[in-house]
């Protein structure tokens, strides 16, 4: 917010300067427009997922009889069915459901921190930011486990015919996933998994760093001296965006 008062000259009009036509501070506006550009990035990722998925045949049989093959696109609920400490158990989408729950709850604590910021309540801001950070770190840990499981694969693997990195066509049992081949389906399935959830996880990581910054500054009283808690609001916008993206990733990568 500008500290110099400028008298609004009516001849200048709304866009002539000296006022705030959008009734939002510079920082908040820029956060919104950055998020708009980020929406395009993630939308491009997910729409690409859709385009590549429809370019492969879908699994024809009943979901229950699904077996992995690189001939057709896998049914996600049959791939993402592992939960930590429950080795070998078929629990479709349970773990990703837990992750979704964690991220939505961290979004709630974030909006509570923003609400506390409006009231200049330092203790509440610090408390809710800490909870949000806990949520974010828990989510990231879950994702680390998910990636690790996805990369190492199942005990039995899948017999596949594919072109290996030397350009030879081979028929062998594939375990886990990399960018070249994976036991779940066609190569783009794992590639898109790594790119989409990886890019989202990268955003969450940055979010946690920003949350820590806000947490620290709120705790030592920087915002109190500044006279407002707008930084919490801006970081809040970013954090909700991360949750927003996950809502779409959850639907289009795991559910459909």
């Amino acid at each position: 917010m500008s500290s110099t008062a400028i008298e609004i000259n009516s001849k200048r009009g709304t866009w002539g300067g000296g006022n705030e036509p959008l009734k939002a501070s510079y920082g908040k506006l820029m956060m919104w427009f950055f998020l708009l550009s980020d929406i395009f990035t993630f939308a491009a990722f997910l729409i690409t997922y859709g385009a590549i998925r429809v370019s492969y045949p879908a699994f024809g049989g009943h979901v229950k009889e699904f077996t992995s093959s690189n001939e057709y696109w896998p049914v996600p609920e049959m791939i993402f069915d592992a939960v930590p400490f429950l080795h070998g158990m078929h629990a479709p989408l349970v773990f990703v459901g837990i992750m979704t729950f964690i991220l939505i709850m961290s979004s709630v604590t974030m909006v509570l921190a923003v609400e506390a910021g409006h009231r200049n309540d330092r203790n509440d801001v610090v408390k809710w930011l800490l909870w949000t950070m806990v949520g974010g770190i828990t989510f990231l840990s879950c994702q680390a486990w998910e990636w690790s499981h996805f990369i190492h694969g199942t005990d039995q693997g899948t017999m596949m015919t594919f072109v290996n990195s030397f350009g030879e066509t081979v028929k062998e049992v594939v375990y886990g996933a990399n960018l070249h081949v994976n036991e779940y389906g066609p190569a783009p399935f794992a590639q898109l998994f790594f790119f989409i959830t990886g890019f989202h996880g990268f955003h969450v990581t940055i979010g946690v760093v920003l949350l820590f910054l806000a947490f620290y500054q709120a705790a030592v009283g920087v915002y109190e001296r500044r006279g407002h808690y707008e930084m919490v609001e801006k970081i809040g916008l970013y954090w909700h965006f991360v949750d927003l993206v996950w809502v779409f990733v959850f639907t289009f990568y795991y559910l459909v």
């Binding site: 919104w32 708009l36 429809v54 370019s55 729950f101 979004s107 909006v111 001296r225 809502v247 639907t251």
Partner: protein, 109 residues
């Protein structure tokens, strides 16, 4: 400027009970919708109908997050539309790339 002062005592306002209740209500709605999606994924036959339901529910969730959590509905109309209108381009991208995907499918198989 207040930043030069070591201590300003900002007045701490009391908790806005109604606002906080609304936040929790929104959270409950989001969680219930997610639970419904989860339930439908295992009870309904896969197909166009289920896909449409999923897309619909996802958009409902997205609008709750953007309007309630990000307070976009409380911003000025100009800001609201300068965020919402550019998203029209995504519809074009969606149409173009789905067409592309189906064409590649026809070529390959």
């Amino acid at each position: 400027m207040s930043s030069h002062e070591n201590k300003t005592t900002l007045e701490v306002l009391p908790r806005n009970k109604e606002k906080i209740r609304k936040i929790w209500k929104t959270a409950l709605i989001l969680l219930v919708i997610t639970a419904v999606e989860f339930f439908l994924a295992f009870t309904m036959e896969r197909g166009m109908l289920l896909f449409a339901i999923f897309v619909g529910l996802t958009l409902v969730k997205a609008s709750y997050i953007m309007m309630e959590f990000m307070h976009l509905k409380d911003e000025s109309k100009t800001l609201f539309w300068s965020i919402m209108l550019p998203l029209i381009f995504l519809i074009w991208l969606l149409i173009a790339l789905s067409k592309e995907g189906t064409e590649i499918f026809m070529l390959r198989w």
